[in-house]
Structure formats: C-alpha cells, structure tokens
Amino acid sequence: MTTPIDLYDGSPVLTLDNVACIRGTRRLFSDITQVVAAGELLRVQGPNGAGKTSLLRMLCGLLAPTEGRVLWRGEQLSGQRDTFGHNLVYLGHAAALKDDLSPLENLLDACALGGHPTDAAAALAALRSAGLRGHERTAARRLSQGQRRRSALARLALCPAAPLWVLDEPFNALDTAATAWLSGLIEAHLQRAGMVVLTSHQEVALGAAQQQVLQL
C-alpha cells in the first residue's frame, strides 16, 4: 500500500508510519507503513511469534511503538487516550470474560466500560444472534471455548458506532455457523464505512471489496 500519509482527507483513518517493535532484544518488525481508510479491512498475516498481537496492541494504544508513529485521524494515539477508546472495539487473545459472571453480565459490563452502554434487552438479542440462546445466564466458566468466543464477539453486534474494530484471531474456535455470522458482521461494518483490522491463520472468505494484507 503506497498511499501517502498526507492524502488524509478527514475520513476516519488509521495510519502506521514507519512503525517498529522491539521486545526485549528481538526486533519483531520494522518500517511498517500502512494506511487503513474508512470501509477497509486489513488482514495481518505472519508466522507464530512474528509480532501480530504486538502490532494490534500498538493500534489500540496498549503498546507504544519502539520507533515510528501510530496516527488516528492524523493525530498521534498517545495524545488522545481519553477519547480514542470510544472509537475502538478491541478483542484480544483472551476473551475478556469473567468466569464467574454470565455472558449477559460480561457483555453489559464490557459495553459500559467501552463507552457504549446498552440495556439488557439489546444485550440478550446480541447474545442470541451469536448463537448463545439458552446460555445467556450460564456462568462463563461452563461455556465451551467456541461459546466463550461467541460471547466476546457479541459485543461487535452492539458497538456498530465504534468505527475501528481490532480483532485478534477472531475466527479461532468458531464453527462454520459462527464463522458465517462473524463474516456477516464484519462485512456489514465495512459497508457502513467502518474499519476492521484482524489477524487470522485460516483463510476466511470475506467478500469485502477493500481488503489489504499486511505480511509480517
């Protein structure tokens, strides 16, 4: 991708400017320049240990880049920590579920903390669309790995207002039905000019028009 950074036109846009990451003494990646514009999907690929998760954490502002800058709408992430969280849904490796709470309680808390508070009826509908009908009030520790994933991903159905979705291996542990459901959510988000950055080992058919691949 060679779009120059100064082509920024006011639409929600995420820019990586010569970003490098050094963890300990290892240089994971360097000189990564990438622009994600509204309605685009960026798939980050690379072998295990290549730094995919580190890159995603940089996009969220959880990790400061060792070199280079991460820009959101033309401004550095580090300077807008208080407001940037509102634009973002980050789903990491761990499902961010409290084992003792139910998917419903987890979802309501996650939405409230993410700055998109919602009510129980909407949360129940989202969990049902995620295929968790009948498990909405089961303790999360009794759910299978795939059900935990679905429970975490149900947040996406409730946060369409957040333009940037950063998803770390979202298709892990999902069955075909859930994969199709998640692909549908992602496509719908791209169609309303949202942005999705994800890592995935499996090839998932996403009919997105604007799909970029970043190879680490």
Partner: protein, 232 residues
C-alpha cells in the same frame, strides 16, 4: 460516530461498573473471603494458645496481635487484585476504556476492601474476646481497623499494579507493601494501647484519618500509572 462521554458522568460510570462487577464476582466465589477470614481467626487464636492464659499479658498483646494478623490476612487476596483481570483480558479492556482508569482502580480497591477488609473488621470484636479486651477497648480496636484496613487495600493496590504480570509476584508484593503499611500498624495498634493506658485516642485516629486521605488521593492515580506501565 464520535460522540464523547460526558466528563463527570464518565468518571463515576467506570467506578460503578467495576465496583458492581467485582462485588458480584466476589459474591460468587466466597471461598476467597472465607479463606482470608479463617486465616485471620487461626493466626489470632494461635497466640493465646502459644503464650498461655495470662490475662494481663493477653490484654497487652491483643491490639498488636489483631492488627498484625489483619495485615497479613489482607495480604492474602492482594496478588489477585489485578492478576485475574490481567489473565482473563479484562484489564486490557479497562485500559482501553474511555472512563478514568484511576476511578476504576478506586472501584476495584473498594470492592477488594469490602470483600476482604470489612469482614475482618466485623469479626475482630469476637476475636478480641479471646484476649479479654474490655468493651470500650474493643470499640477502639474496631474503629482503628475500620480506618486502617482501607489504607492497606489502597497501598496494596499500588503494589499489585506494579507487580501485575510478574512471575512469583505474591512474595514480592508483600515485601513491597508491608513496609509501607508500618505507620498504619503503629497508629492502629497504638490507639488501643493508648486507650488501655487511659490516654486519649483522638491523636491516633486523626493520624489514621490523615493517612487514609493521603493514600486515597495518591494511590489510585499511582496504581493507574503503574498498570499502564505493567501492561506495555
């Protein structure tokens, strides 16, 4: 798409959400609270057995023993304050939240105190019976614990935030936190001793109150900064 949270509502919302969530979690896993309480009871009960049934000696020892046992008991659940959130990924979500991280730390610390510190305070009058403390001295003891245990939780939150994600952090955490809580022990146990000696306790309580205010101002902010560093 870019609606921003209202300034003051946002602060309290994060605090309330985290407080409610953590209280709910601790209600559903009561074993943590019970093990803290049982540890407290065990340690306190070992002393009369160990030093023999000498009423005057027991009365003199009581405040110190109860206070030290309360401090050690409140150390037990401290390593898990942020470690659970770290391992299940909810800590990252808190860091990304639009709400103030310091207020969320206050919520977590308050929930921690309500599930580990407050039960100790409520149980302490029963244990004071073993030491033949007078009713008024027991009252002073309970009050001093009520003022002092929140300080232990707050100072503990700073230590827990600094050591989150470290291997074998629980010993390190105790080594970090216990020296910082020595003033609380001195003034807390000192209040009961002063009362037993017929002196006023107002000075001790004022100092405990001042310590509580200072830690309440500094600890959440420090812990929030430490969490951001630990999570890099």
């Amino acid at each position: 798409m870019t609606s921003r949270p209202t300034s003051t509502g946002g602060l309290i919302d994060g605090f309330k959400t985290v407080l409610r969530r953590d209280l709910r979690v601790s209600l559903r896993r009561r074993s943590d609270t019970f093990s803290t309480l049982i540890f407290f009871v065990m340690v306190v009960s070992l002393f009369p057995l160990g030093v023999g049934p000498e009423p005057q000696l027991l009365r003199t020892m009581a405040p110190g023993v109860l206070w030290v046992a309360a401090m050690l008991a409140s150390m037990l659940s401290l390593p898990r304050l942020f470690a659970d959130d770290h391992s299940d990924g909810t800590l990252e979500q808190m860091l990304l939240s639009t709400h103030s991280l310091s207020w969320m730390v206050v919520g977590k610390t308050l929930a921690h105190w309500m599930s580990s510190g407050l039960p100790l305070v409520l149980l302490s009058p029963v244990l004071a019976l073993q030491f033949d403390l007078s009713a008024s001295a027991t009252g002073v003891l309970v009050l001093s614990l009520l003022l002092g245990t929140p300080i232990l939780s707050l100072v503990g939150a700073m230590g827990a935030a600094l050591t989150v994600g470290l291997r074998g952090s629980s010993v390190l955490l105790s080594l970090l936190v216990l020296p910082l809580t020595i003033p609380v022990l001195i003034f807390g146990a000192g209040a009961v001793e002063a009362h037993n000696a017929g002196l006023g306790v107002a000075g001790h309580f004022s100092l405990l109150g001042a310590l509580l205010i200072v830690t309440l101002m500094a600890a959440p902010w420090t812990a929030a900064a430490a969490l951001r560093i630990s999570m890099e």
